[in-house]
Amino acid sequence: MTRLRPSSAAFAKAVAVIFLACILTAPTAFALNPGEALDDAVLEKRARALSLELRCLVCQNQSIDDSDAPLAQDLRALVRARLQAGDTDDEIRAAIVARYGEFVLFRPVFAWHTAPLWLTPLLLMLFGLWLALRKVLTRQPDTPPPPESPPEAPPET
């Protein structure tokens, strides 16, 4: 799919559709233009990897690698120019964040305000494993209330 040019509120409504359509993702995913890629394969590989982690700010939820917006194109050129100048990935990221803010990073940095985001999955899994382990270690004998008998009626509340 491609650039939809919303011309009226009603059009936006038409775009509405679904929550179904789940996957509408973003308009036009068009990667590079001819001639953009660097000749140096190693640098180009780094450029692509970096581009995938940088958000195109004028598109919806697209990386600059996927977007054909002029801003994305400029950023791709910037990334490649700095790579050729010998900058490290971190330096390039820092430069772009300095200009556009953290919002530009699709992979958030690890810091105080993002620690819950990064640590929760791990902690949650450990917690789940601990719960599971506790369940099997403190198991009751295998013949608890016979399944046929209905449970005791709880006290009326």
Partner: protein
Amino acid sequence: MIVELGHFALLLALCVACVQGASVLLCRGLDEAEMSARRLATRAAHLQMALLLLAFLALAYAFYVSDFSVALVHANSHLAKPTIYKLAGVWGNHEGSMLLWVLMLAAYGAAFARFSHRLPDGFVGRSLMVQGWLGMAFLAFLIFTSNPFLRLDPAPFEGRGLTPILQDPALAAHPPLLYGGYVGFSLCFAFAIAALMQREVGRDWAQWVRPWILLAWISLTLGIALGSFWAYYELGWGGFWFWDPVENASLMPWLSGTALLHSALVMEKRRALVRWTLLLAILTFALSLSGTFLVRSGVLTSVHAFANDPARGVFILAILALFTGGGLALYAHRLPGLAAERGFVPVSREGFLLLNNVFLATATVTVFLGTIYPLVLDALALGKISVGAPYFNAVFAPLTLPFLLLMPLAPLMGWRQAMFMDGLQKLGAAALAALLVTGGFLLLRGDAPILPLLLLAASLWLVFGALTDLGVKLRPWMAGRMGARAWPSAGLFAAPLAHAGLGVMLVGVIAASVWRVEKVVAAAPGTRVDIAGYSLRYDGVRDLEGPNYRAETARLVYLNGSMAGAQLFPERRFYQAERGQTTEAAITKNLAGHLYAVIGEPVDDKRVLRIWYHPLVALIWLGGVLMALGGSFALRARIGKQCGAA
């Protein structure tokens, strides 16, 4: 007139839903109150479904004849549109899709009423009552904030058309399948609430709920797979999953529904994990609802965030808070009164299923967190951040690996108590095969980072492990020891197929992500392009006239190999009525890989050509279909069992 009939039927359906929701109350004090309530609710459920079907057909009729005096038809249809898309337009918009939602809700209610004759009165009556409440809430939402039957006066002569990207067969089928999943989990919710209200989770609760979980799960699996396939061929470069918030909204109920599927199995076979299963039943539906809220309210930064109507968002939030909050409060309140559970030993089928639930719960929370974290941070004024695909990939890859490694073992473990080494020994051949095939990939396709390779090997081990499991299960039949029973039961195929499906899908995901080849050139007619061992000649572009669009079509001809002479016709379409544009990729599909060609803008007298080779990408959706097929076998076995017992 027909539209007014539909409108009237819709209003009447709300009244009937109110009766259904009040059935238990209305019948209180009667002789045989429970049986009366059940009868009342059953009739109401059937009537509600009939009325909503009528309303839906009336709306479909308005779309079919392009009655532009109906505001919704005017906003979403066009005379020049092919009939199939006029009809798909019924649910290709907010109001119509909500009508489909309530229709399916009523259909699930009616189907349950129809197929539950052997279940106890009190339980059926209460479950249908809860369904009635849901019907009331969503019908009120539909009628008061998003009525599809509003008229325009004077009637316009022409409609505004349906967004071009939605004029596609896959997207016509995508919403009904997805809703079939979301809405299907409403029954699990209703069952859990009914059981909690009765203060008793009957022995057979898990047995009653499992067919409905399976049905919803199959539908959701197919819906997500179809949506992913559509994104792949329509969005222009072959991406199949973007971790877009709205995709995540469908993934969360899927993950938690999958957990529910497995925990209900433990509950049925071993009468353990009862409380956890009830909680999952409530949460899975809550996730379906919050998916609706997230998408409908416009709080997400996503192209899907179209329904930026705060009134709707607030209404849905209220529904979500009411049902989730109410359900969880009831759960917390009644929990202490529930019967004691059986414990179990770690190395057993149920022990492995518990691990499955730990993983799926973690995965669900991770997706949830990644989706709402930026919103929360922003709301607390702690900064604006983005959470995108790189985050999810970075977190999911290491999280998934250990569970993938354990997964093939689970079906080989017996219930109650099993020997770990016994299971492992059976899988020796599978492990060897997985390593060999991974090595083969490395030789054929070249080097790759270590984590994807480990995941690839684990996914292959899952596929071969599932085959081993199937072999073990089928051995008695192969050896002819089962005598008269000529055919193994359908249930034997369920887990192996579904598990192999997941493995196959992951192999596709990894191969297509790691070994994708891309070529972007500006080509003049006659230019030759080489990619992934294929040579193609570009023959230029010509104009075409479609039913409701103009197109420019390029021709690419294969020059070598078994494909020599075959042609590809990538298109760009311009829809006049909608003033939109789509890119139609031309794809040569075979199992080994897809060659995917797209044309871009003209550059001087040349044309931008983008060609990709996506190795094994078809396995992604094949895996999805296999999973759904596995679910269908389980459902078949379950229905067969119930008929047999009757």
